[in-house]
């Protein structure tokens, strides 16, 4: 099992996609400090969880990694949902593109499930408006 490779399979394309926007939107992954909550700067948080790593068999076990991806988009509050939805579209496009990939002979073969959301929320305290999508994934480490 190679958790880093699985994580990279989804994090790298998300980082590239949001980095290619003008202006680039920072993406914060697991265990990376997010932008302080008192700023109105827009940013993205991505959480990758490993729900199941393998399945036991009668004699050993087989790798069969499955988990969830949660993407939260934070944009300025009080400006309507348009900007948030624009950034969500970038995230959804990345996830859908992951499903267009074909299985090769090395690396990680990665497929996401149906995308739930987006759901939106904005608390009184936070200066941000948040859009959230999540999906499941199945990853096969090929090498």
């Amino acid at each position: 099992m190679n958790y880093q490779a699985i994580r990279a399979a989804v994090e790298n394309p998300l980082l590239s996609a949001f980095g290619a926007l003008v202006p680039a939107v920072p993406v914060h992954f697991d265990n990376i400090t997010a932008v302080p909550p008192n700023t109105t700067t827009e940013y993205v948080r991505v959480n990758v969880t490993f729900g199941i790593t393998n399945e036991p068999t009668l004699t050993s076990s087989v790798d069969n990694a499955r988990g969830a991806i949660v993407i939260r988009i934070f944009t300025e509050k009080g400006r309507g949902p348009a900007r948030n939805q624009t950034l969500l579209t970038t995230a959804v496009n990345v996830l859908e593109t992951l499903n267009n990939g074909t299985k090769g002979t090395s690396g990680v073969y990665f497929k996401v499930g149906e995308i739930n959301g987006p759901t939106f929320s904005a608390t009184e305290e936070s200066p941000h408006f948040m859009g959230r999508i999540d999906t499941s994934y199945v990853a096969t480490v090929l090498s």
């Binding site: 074909t102 299985k103 073969y109 480490v141």
Partner: protein, 268 residues
């Protein structure tokens, strides 16, 4: 267990085939035709195959010489202008006459056929859909094979401590398959064509290739690294389910027309 999965004398976990790299490939029904020397018209660059087949404009086809008695490869020479192994594209097919024209390029000019070729009986020329083509937007497929069993238990056995067991011998094999396909707005999509193929009277040429694990190497589908089941097929039904809540989909049921070919190894 392969040697590369053993480290320090302990087995490492292998990676399960989760099915997520599966795929469904198809050759449409009514896309295999045959013709003899008399079916070649060098003036109009037309060949005449069976009527009411299902060739569509743009279909990729290949020509060969076959033995009509065995179904295997035959001896003879294709009409000049047509080469075995080369992919041509249908540019016209008239169902009620069987007249077929092909081009070297999709939508191009008709191939210039300059002689009738030679195919002495039982040999004949064959034109067939070139290769399996991927069916897009397949939600899932399933395939089941079964074997009939015949009860050959004899009665009148001498009773002992335990009850006598029934005896069986194996009977004929059979199979059924199902594919659920999301409908798209592409008229030429194979998924849409599968629905019509159910009612195609002559389903000759219909075949499925069900990939349990489709692997690409260098950007090209690698048959040697992939695992698949392929067979000539009969399409038996199509069930459309249109409702306000779900994406439009169709479930196509099929049955092998012969013994399936299993390629579950990752070597050629």
């Amino acid at each position: 267990m392969p040697a590369h999965n053993v480290v320090f004398g302990k087995p490492m976990a292998t990676t399960v085939l989760s099915g997520t790299s599966g795929a469904l490939y198809y050759k449409p029904a009514g896309t295999t035709g045959s013709f003899g020397e008399a079916g070649v018209n060098t003036t109009t660059d037309t060949i005449t195959v069976e009527t009411y087949l299902n060739f569509k404009v743009g279909d990729p086809v290949k020509f060969s010489v076959i033995n009509s008695q065995t179904g295997g490869s035959g001896s003879g020479t294709l009409p000049a202008g047509l080469s075995a192994g080369t992919t041509y594209y249908v540019i016209a097919y008239t169902a009620n006459t069987g007249a077929l024209q092909v081009s070297a390029t999709a939508g191009g000019a008709a191939v210039d056929i300059t002689d009738d070729g030679t195919a002495a009986a039982p040999n004949e020329f064959q034109v067939a859909y070139a290769d399996f083509a991927v069916v897009g937007q397949v939600r899932d497929w399933s395939f089941e094979i079964s074997r009939a069993e015949i009860d050959v238990t004899t009665i009148g056995q001498t009773p002992g401590q335990y009850v006598p067991f029934r005896s069986y011998i194996s009977g004929f094999g059979d199979g059924t398959g199902t594919a659920t396909v999301y409908m798209t707005n592409e008229d030429a999509a194979l998924s849409n064509r599968m629905v019509q193929d159910v009612l195609q009277r002559q389903q000759t040429g219909a075949a499925f290739k069900l990939y349990t694990d489709r692997v690409f190497s260098g950007g090209t589908l690698s048959e040697s690294l992939s695992r698949s089941i392929s067979f000539d097929a009969v399409l038996t039904s199509a069930s459309l389910n249109i409702n306000p809540d779900d994406a439009q989909s169709v479930t196509v049921n099929f049955r092998p027309a012969g013994t399936p070919s299993f390629d579950f190894s990752t070597s050629a």
